[in-house]
């Protein structure tokens, strides 16, 4: 059994991720169940200030899953990073005892924590996505952006390569998009800097966006709600102050898959983008061609 750990962001600024994810999985015939009574993983804030909280908050969720003898599927890169890091750290018996005391739940047994990308890139899903496409994306030049946390987990064997991950490229190709190879796919977007230090955050996002523009991307695709928000926000912010060069919409990988599988704005929340949604996505969603030749 696998439960879904959505994380806090997927209920507000990353809502398009959760809605499109549920839709895509339903379309692929998999029912998703949310982990009951899940709580925040502490994101970057817990480990920034308090070592005990940094482990206790994710561990509470691990304990719930373990009690249910369930594995976890995680969408948000930060949640995934925290849960994986905690699981690895709890291998130390001393720390495990300490955290167990804090969580006040038994912490034993093993469970698998899987990233959404890891599940979607399983052969069966890749093949089904490719075969069950209903709409053509071939004209769309897509740059995949992973950000930091999905693959950079010290001492944990991840689901993809650390320096050059390719799972989203595999998914986007299966969906029929034109995949670009570009150098900034694991650069950092600045995470919570967009709140605490706007100027700095804008510079970091701008570097990434400029490179995407220079490589000729129509779309940036990501699997991290913070990356999506920051890159989207940065373009919106700039457009408020100056006439901007064409915005590059930043969407979630599940939105892209949804587009290929025939989803519309209602199912995929395509118009929830702050920047550029109206330029590329909505016309695309209306006019994209149904596949003429089914394989």
């Amino acid at each position: 059994m696998t439960h879904f750990y959505p994380g806090c962001t997927l209920s507000s600024s990353g809502k398009a991720y959760s809605r499109s994810l549920y839709w895509v999985f339903q379309r692929l015939g998999r029912q998703i169940e949310e982990l009951p009574d899940w709580s925040c993983c502490g994101a970057t804030s817990a480990h920034a200030l308090d070592r005990d909280l940094a482990y206790a908050l994710p561990a509470r969720n691990l304990a719930i899953a373990q009690e249910m003898r369930s594995d976890l599927m995680v969408a948000c890169s930060a949640c995934y990073h925290r849960l994986k890091t905690t699981q690895q750290a709890l291998g130390n018996p001393e720390l495990q005892k300490r955290v167990q005391q804090l969580v006040d739940r038994p912490l034993h047994g093993s469970l698998q924590i899987k990233n959404v990308l890891e599940i979607l890139t399983e052969e069966s899903y890749l093949e089904r996505i490719h075969q069950e496409r209903t709409h053509e994306l071939a004209g769309l030049k897509v740059a995949c952006y992973y950000g930091c946390l999905a693959t950079r987990i010290p001492r944990v064997a991840g689901f993809d390569r650390v320096e050059n991950p390719t799972s989203m490229e595999r998914l986007a190709s299966a969906a029929g998009a034109n995949v670009l190879h570009w150098p900034y796919k694991t650069e950092c977007c600045g995470a919570s800097l967009s709140v605490t230090n706007e100027a700095l955050s804008l510079t970091m996002c701008d570097r990434i966006l400029q490179m995407a523009r220079r490589c000729g991307a129509d779309l940036l695709v990501t699997s991290c709600p913070f990356c999506q928000y920051n890159l989207d926000w940065a373009q919106w912010k700039v457009s408020q102050e100056e006439a901007q060069t064409k915005a590059i919409p930043v969407i979630f990988i599940t939105q892209l898959l949804g587009l290929a599988l025939g989803g519309g704005d209602k199912e995929l929340m395509l118009s929830s983008n702050l920047a550029g949604a109206e330029h590329v996505l909505c016309p695309l969603a209306r006019t994209r061609q149904p596949l003429l030749v089914q394989k």
Partner: protein
């Protein structure tokens, strides 16, 4: 506005000759707290080369590690390195000596706060505190609440109003996304253990 605070954190005179005579207590404290072996660092500079924030740091991560090795407690804890670290973990996965550098930054930040050093980025500390306050009260974080509290704290209640409105209009903010019990007991146990 941000620049002021950065500059304030810059000047502090490290007498390198003096710290060479420093004790091993500090490196032991950092190693115990983080569980990482700082003594393994041999200054290859890979962490600094890959760090997206290095240009804003008074000491790059490897320089900070050298100061820890030399026992310069005050120089380390007063620096801005760990406040500018945004936990992208590039350094940690590239370190040839398998030191989880980003994790050490967390430890040093905790030690600095505990020892009463003023943070180089006050906003970052406040943001994290407010974030954890939300987790304590509701167990999950509502972004609307988080931003409202952060703005009130910064005494700029109307900042980002147009952004908030746009997000709301686009269906990306919820007033009450969660109704659940907080995690007060867990937080209390953490505080008692400290």
């Amino acid at each position: 506005m941000e620049a002021e605070e950065t500059v304030a954190a810059l000047p502090h005179n490290v007498q390198r000759d003096e710290c060479a005579a420093g004790s091993f207590d500090f490196i032991k404290e950092v190693e115990d707290h983080s569980g990482e072996r700082i003594s393994r660092c041999f200054q290859c500079d890979k962490c600094a080369t890959g760090c997206p924030m290095a240009e804003h740091m008074v000491y790059t991560p490897n320089e900070l590690f050298r100061l820890i090795q030399l026992g310069d407690q005050a120089g380390v804890l007063a620096s801005n390195t760990f406040w500018y670290c945004i936990s992208c973990y590039t350094c940690s996965v590239r370190c040839p000596n398998d030191i989880d550098i980003a994790h050490v930054m967390d430890s040093v930040r905790e030690l600095a706060l505990r020892a009463g050093y003023a943070p180089a980025l006050t906003q970052a500390r406040d943001f994290h505190r407010i974030f954890l306050g939300c987790v304590r009260r509701f167990g999950r974080v509502s972004e609307l609440e988080l931003m409202a509290r952060y703005n009130l704290h910064r005494k700029r209640p109307f900042q980002r109003l147009s952004l908030g409105w746009t997000l709301l209009r686009k269906g990306r903010l919820e007033f009450w996304p969660f109704r659940r019990r907080g995690l007060r007991e867990l937080f209390k146990r953490v505080e008692e253990l400290r």
